[in-house]
């Protein structure tokens, strides 16, 4: 069984935001809600690095632990999904998430939070695969179509990788060997922690 993971290769990410608009396009995410965003460190300085960040679909997901209504669930491929019918928009998950992934549309009066929205690894939600209801609440379900997340598939420099964690790690390891340096994988330690069975982290993974 594959374990789905994201990896963003900071040596390749050029902050083009292709992943961001690919996501907007595929899921028709409204203005102001960003399931994915690109964060740049040392902007304009030597050592400038960019990372594309979304829900990492953590192994031991903090959001799941804190959710008061247990709206989260996990697929057999390790994708962390949630049920918007159960979500009460409390925002606990946002505080728990180390990646700032959960998004809240500013719905209704008094700036109340709407239902939480986040990256689904293009895997939809609890409704039937590729049903109208699923699309309206969660967007497309590409995994059910045999595709991988739109953001990673369209990444301009193949910096963002999304798919089977083993394959992703292999690809990355290969690049690191070629470069002969810089094995740092941003976020992997935090998201995926201890190596799972059959899922080897790339050399030097750290948070």
């Amino acid at each position: 069984m594959a374990r789905m993971k994201f990896l963003c290769d900071a040596e390749r990410c050029i902050e083009c935001n292709g992943c961001v608009t690919a996501c907007k396009n595929e899921h028709e995410v409204p203005w102001g809600v960003n399931r994915r965003r690109v964060v740049t460190l040392n902007d304009g300085l030597p050592g400038e690095k960019s990372i594309s960040v979304a829900c990492m679909h953590c192994s031991d997901a903090p959001c799941m632990a804190v959710c008061p209504v247990d709206c989260f669930y996990k697929t057999s491929e390790g994708v962390v999904l949630h049920d918007k019918d159960l979500c009460i928009g409390c925002g606990y998950c946002f505080y728990a998430c180390p990646f700032g992934a959960p998004q809240f549309p500013q719905d209704g009066a008094f700036g109340m939070r709407g239902k939480m929205d986040k990256c689904t690894f293009c895997a939809g939600g609890p409704e039937a695969d590729n049903s109208a209801a699923e699309f309206q609440k969660y967007g497309r379900n590409r995994l059910a179509e045999g595709k991988l997340p739109a953001c990673a598939e369209m990444c301009s420099t193949k910096a963002l990788l999304g798919g089977d964690g083993d394959v992703v790690a292999d690809i990355y390891r290969n690049r690191v060997l070629k470069r002969g340096k810089g094995a740092e994988v941003w976020g992997w330690g935090t998201a995926y922690g201890k190596p799972e069975k059959g899922a080897t982290p790339p050399a030097g993974a750290k948070s």
Partner: protein, 973 residues
């Protein structure tokens, strides 16, 4: 509680992580191992069967899309020149999704923010498009019918022509038009009777085209994005590819991972610099000094390729003398770069060959742009890097089809294929078009047919200049903006005056564009807006920067009331009375609403029949379409097809280079494979090899201009240098009788550029391996240019009066491209401008937006990412002015134009330089112009246009505008 959801039935299709999301070419990863997921059986077919459920939009679109057939249309991104392929999923005529094309050898499925959001073009609900024809009536936009619009527009233009002559009109075409439309546009305006036409190439790479072509033959990117994978050192000098050509970085970063050194020299620490091994800062506008400084070190250390120079370069000795003068202290004085820095770049380029240089607007948009690009060519010639895989001048063009529109489109000094506008050229095309030469001649005012027209950079002067100073009877009175932003042209403040003075202004565009808002701000009437369809709403071919030509399928029908550009041309041609001549040899097909329009495939066939010079003859629609259907057979590194046969037509792809990069000489039947790298002698011409062009005579002042013996493309029967092919040469060589009788009849008295049968090319190239354009040396000295050897000349607005003394600009010119051009007068008058305006103002691109930005700023997915116009300013300059990050400031230039923008305090720019992105418009010196756009058609994001404040300054050869170096002051708003 942990719910576990069962895995879905479908596994990812084989290519998805492989050529797609993954390791990318050449790695040891097996492309077939991709995703180890459960239920592995499925492939592409299974994925397709599950394609889109009709849930895109709740309202009408969803209903419209529901059911019906799902089609996948293959098109090409319409933003930059990389040429990224897109699979558009269309259901019942509604564009419901877009999928990456992993098979494309150019982009392997990758997209930047613009390409990944291009489906927005097809979304009615959120569209900010121009929906119907409009007319400015007493200062208000008023909706009118197409009939009324075409009638009134044509009546007004005919009236101007009748009263003031055809040269009183100016036609601004578009690098966004596909090849066929660009070609038709040249013909259309010619038949109206004027050479007053131009397009974005003027303000993008005109200096490159002129400078590079005059050096060695063709003014285009010599190699390709893909070929960078063969480079050992890549110098970005005047290019910020990470923002302007993001997907090209796929190849650059791959090269880097394989050990190539990446160097960026730029006034800014760009996002490209962030990915480089080496970055050095240079003062804006001192490019020639830096390149000469590099050559100084190269010659001093004997790093030049002496054999190559002897056999293939003319005049390098003279350059060597000039470079000797550029001692490190002088280079530092001018550029601000230390000796060690310049030497380091020279050494890295010399010791890591093949090395390549990449440039874009950073080199071209200067008052001495033609000299800068030639200095870059000379650098590569000195190192023996041209005509070498991994070397070359990788010149990144701008728009998706700016290369093609330059090649076959509306240029004021040239007919399609750079044929020029001498009478012989007109006769050649009269023949190709199937019209009488004398008839065309009559359309023009006497003598004007062979006189280069006005350039788009200077149409405002053609309106405003004193009549006695211009080289045509009347000033320009009517302007047609046909797919061109106004805010990409400099001197915006004066553009408003020009717009006020016009009789008629017509905008034909998918968006009303800033032109509409500027016009409505400046005047009450005489302005028309005609909605055009985008390239996603029609078929046609487009030429990527690497000269590969790709065929776009039509994705959706023209939206709202828009019509295709070629339909509008045809309908105006009907009004002007030359529709029959316009399509004499092109068949018509039914377009929107059953109305006639020129057939795009048939138009390409006409191009194939006429454009021999640059080899646009072998790219038949059938061949191009076969390439698009079989992208997977092309190698990612070489672009060459390994085997492969098109299932639909049986066409054998083996050996073709992807997109048949021009020159693809001879007729399609000869099957020339295209030329991936120009001038490459280690390949046979029928394998895409070549040599430098013989276009400048056979000798100069007693010195041989042809290539030396033994320097020729592989397998050529002529092993010496030789002139270009004509009937005399063919006869002299004794090869004439290899022509068929029909070919002989056609070729008699002709040369390779005018022989309509292509027979001479066939014999010379296919049978004897020789290059139809001859085999000569490249010119390090371009004696027909004002500065035969590239010279540094200070920008007109320079912060350094001491250097203006030492490196003054040109003398004023009385008449270039029909207008006087000021150089010295402006420079002298502004010698001390630096006292009041001490900051160098430069401009450039952002990744989210393209060109003037009307289209991309109207796309909410992009607009959300860049919501405000800004100025990058160094912390020192900000602190000295008491401004802080993210505050409004006024940026004022010597024209007294003032821009109200937000600050971005950053060390990305050095102290003394500020940077502003050029994609914004819709504010005018502090005022939001929203009310001046037609309702609902203002772009989502509006801001000050940097070109409102840019100053006077043009390249002496091409009238390229200076946008990269001027002066300004910043103060708190």
């Amino acid at each position: 509680m942990l719910l576990t959801r069962k895995s879905s039935q479908t596994a990812a299709a084989p290519s998805r992580l492989a050529r797609g999301a993954s390791a990318f070419l050449g790695n040891t990863i097996d492309r077939r191992t991709f995703l180890k997921r459960s239920g592995m059986a499925a492939g592409g077919a299974a994925a397709l069967s599950q394609l889109p459920f009709p849930v895109m939009r709740k309202a009408e679109a969803a209903d419209k899309a529901a059911g019906g057939t799902v089609e996948v249309k293959r098109t090409i991104c319409t933003h930059c020149s990389v040429g990224c392929a897109i699979d558009a999923v269309v259901q019942n005529g509604v564009w419901v999704r877009q999928e990456p094309v992993f098979d494309s050898p150019i982009n392997l499925g990758a997209h930047c923010a613009k390409g990944a959001s291009i489906r927005e073009h097809g979304m009615h609900e959120i569209s900010h498009r121009l929906r119907s024809p409009m007319k400015l009536n007493n200062g208000k936009w008023e909706k009118i019918s197409w009939d009324q619009a075409l009638t009134e527009v044509s009546d007004r233009l005919l009236k101007v022509r009748k009263e003031s002559g055809p040269d009183a009109t100016f036609w601004i075409g578009s690098s966004k038009h596909n090849n066929e439309q660009s070609y038709l546009f040249r013909k259309f305006v010619s038949f109206f009777g004027t050479n007053n036409m131009d397009h974005q190439a003027r303000i993008c790479h005109s200096t490159t085209v002129a400078g590079v072509a005059n050096t060695w033959g063709y003014g285009a990117m010599t190699n390709s994005y893909n070929d960078e994978q063969n480079s050992k050192c890549i110098l970005f000098f005047g290019s910020n590819a990470a923002e302007a050509h993001p997907v090209s970085m796929l190849h650059t970063l791959h090269a880097k991972e394989n050990g190539a050194k990446v160097i960026v020299v730029d006034p800014r620490f760009t996002r490209t610099a962030a990915k480089a091994d080496t970055f050095y800062r240079i003062r804006s506008g001192t490019d020639v000094a830096f390149l000469m400084g590099m050559l100084h070190h190269i010659f001093k250390n004997g790093w030049e390729d002496k054999d190559y120079i002897r056999a293939r370069v003319y005049g390098m000795d003279k350059v060597k003398e000039e470079a000797a003068k550029w001692t490190p202290d002088k280079v530092e004085e001018v550029t601000g770069m230390k000796e060690a820095e310049v030497r380091d770049v020279a050494e890295q380029m010399a010791k890591n060959r093949p090395s390549t240089i990449v440039w874009a607007m950073g080199q071209t948009q200067h008052t001495n742009g033609n000299a800068i690009v030639r200095a870059s060519c000379i650098l590569q010639l000195a190192l023996g890097n041209v005509g070498v895989s991994g070397g070359g001048c990788n010149i990144y063009r701008g728009h998706d089809n700016v290369q093609g529109a330059t090649d076959v489109g509306p240029n004021p000094d040239s007919l399609p294929g750079y044929y020029g506008i001498a009478e012989g050229s007109w006769k050649h095309f009269a023949n190709v078009w199937g019209v009488d030469f004398e008839w065309i001649k009559k359309q023009f005012a006497p003598g004007m047919m062979t006189k280069p027209g006005i350039t788009v950079s200077r149409w405002i002067d053609a309106v405003l200049e004193k009549n006695e100073l211009i080289d045509q009877d009347n000033n320009v009175k009517a302007v047609v903006f046909w797919g061109h932003a106004p805010n990409s042209q400099s001197r915006g403040k004066e553009m408003i005056d020009a717009i006020k003075k016009l009789d008629t202004l017509v905008v034909i565009d998918p968006y009303p564009s800033a032109t509409a808002a500027m016009a409505a701000m400046a005047r009450k009437d005489g302005v028309y807006l005609l909605p055009a369809a985008t390239q996603l709403e029609c078929a046609g071919s487009c030429t990527a920067s690497n000269r590969s030509i790709q065929w776009r399928e039509k994705v959706i029908d023209p939206m709202f009331e828009s019509r295709t550009d070629h339909m509008i041309m045809y309908q105006l041609a009907q009004k002007f009375g030359f529709a029959k001549e316009f399509t004499a040899k092109i068949k018509l097909s039914k377009g929107k609403g059953g109305m006639d329009e020129p057939d795009m495939e048939d138009t390409l066939r006409e191009i194939n029949r006429g454009v021999w010079t640059i080899g646009y003859t072998g790219q038949s629609p059938e061949r191009l379409q076969a390439h698009m259907r079989n992208m997977h057979v092309f190698d990612i590194k070489t672009l060459r097809a390994k085997g492969g046969k098109d299932a639909k037509t049986g066409y054998v792809l083996d050996g073709d280079y992807f997109g048949l990069p021009w020159p693809c000489f001879g007729t399609a039947a000869i099957k020339h494979p295209g030329s991936p790298n120009l001038y490459q002698t280690d390949r046979h011409i029928m394998d895409g090899g070549g040599n430098f062009r013989a276009n400048f005579g056979v000798e100069k002042d007693g010195v041989n201009l042809l290539a030396e013996d033994g320097s020729h493309s592989k397998g050529a029967d002529l092993t010496t240098g030789y002139p270009e092919l004509d009937h005399v040469l063919l006869k002299k060589l004794g090869w004439w009788d290899e022509l068929t009788e029909d070919e002989k009849k056609a070729a008699e008295g002709k040369n390779w550029k005018t022989d309509p049968s292509g027979g001479m090319i066939r014999v010379f190239m296919k049978e004897h391996g020789c290059h139809p354009f001859g085999n000569a040396k490249a010119r390090a000295v371009v004696w027909n240019f004002p500065d035969a050897i590239p010279l540094h000349r200070e920008p007109l607005y320079s912060p350094r009066p001491d250097l203006i003394e030492k490196y003054p600009t040109h003398a004023d010119q009385k008449n270039r491209w029909r207008l006087p051009v000021l150089f010295k007068t402006v420079q002298d008058a502004n010698k001390d401008a630096g006292k009041q305006y001490p900051l160098i103002m430069t401009s450039g691109r952002l990744v989210e937006y393209e060109g003037g930005g009307d289209e991309t700023r109207s796309n909410p997915w992009l607009a959300e990412l860049q919501q405000e116009m800004f100025v990058e300013i160094n912390p020192k300059d900000a602190n000295d002015r008491g401004v802080r990050n993210n505050e409004y400031v006024w940026v004022e230039s010597p024209t007294k134009a003032r821009l109200k923008v937000k600050t971005l305090v950053t060390e990305r720019v050095g102290a003394g330089t500020v940077f502003l992105p050029f994609h914004f418009a819709g504010w005018w010196m502090g005022e939001d112009m929203k009310k001046h756009y037609p309702e609902g058609a203002a772009p989502v994001v509006r801001g000050e246009a940097v070109n409102t404040a840019t100053t006077y300054g043009y390249d002496i050869v091409t009238m390229m505008q200076e946008t990269k170096t001027t002066l300004c002051q910043v103060s708190k708003a």
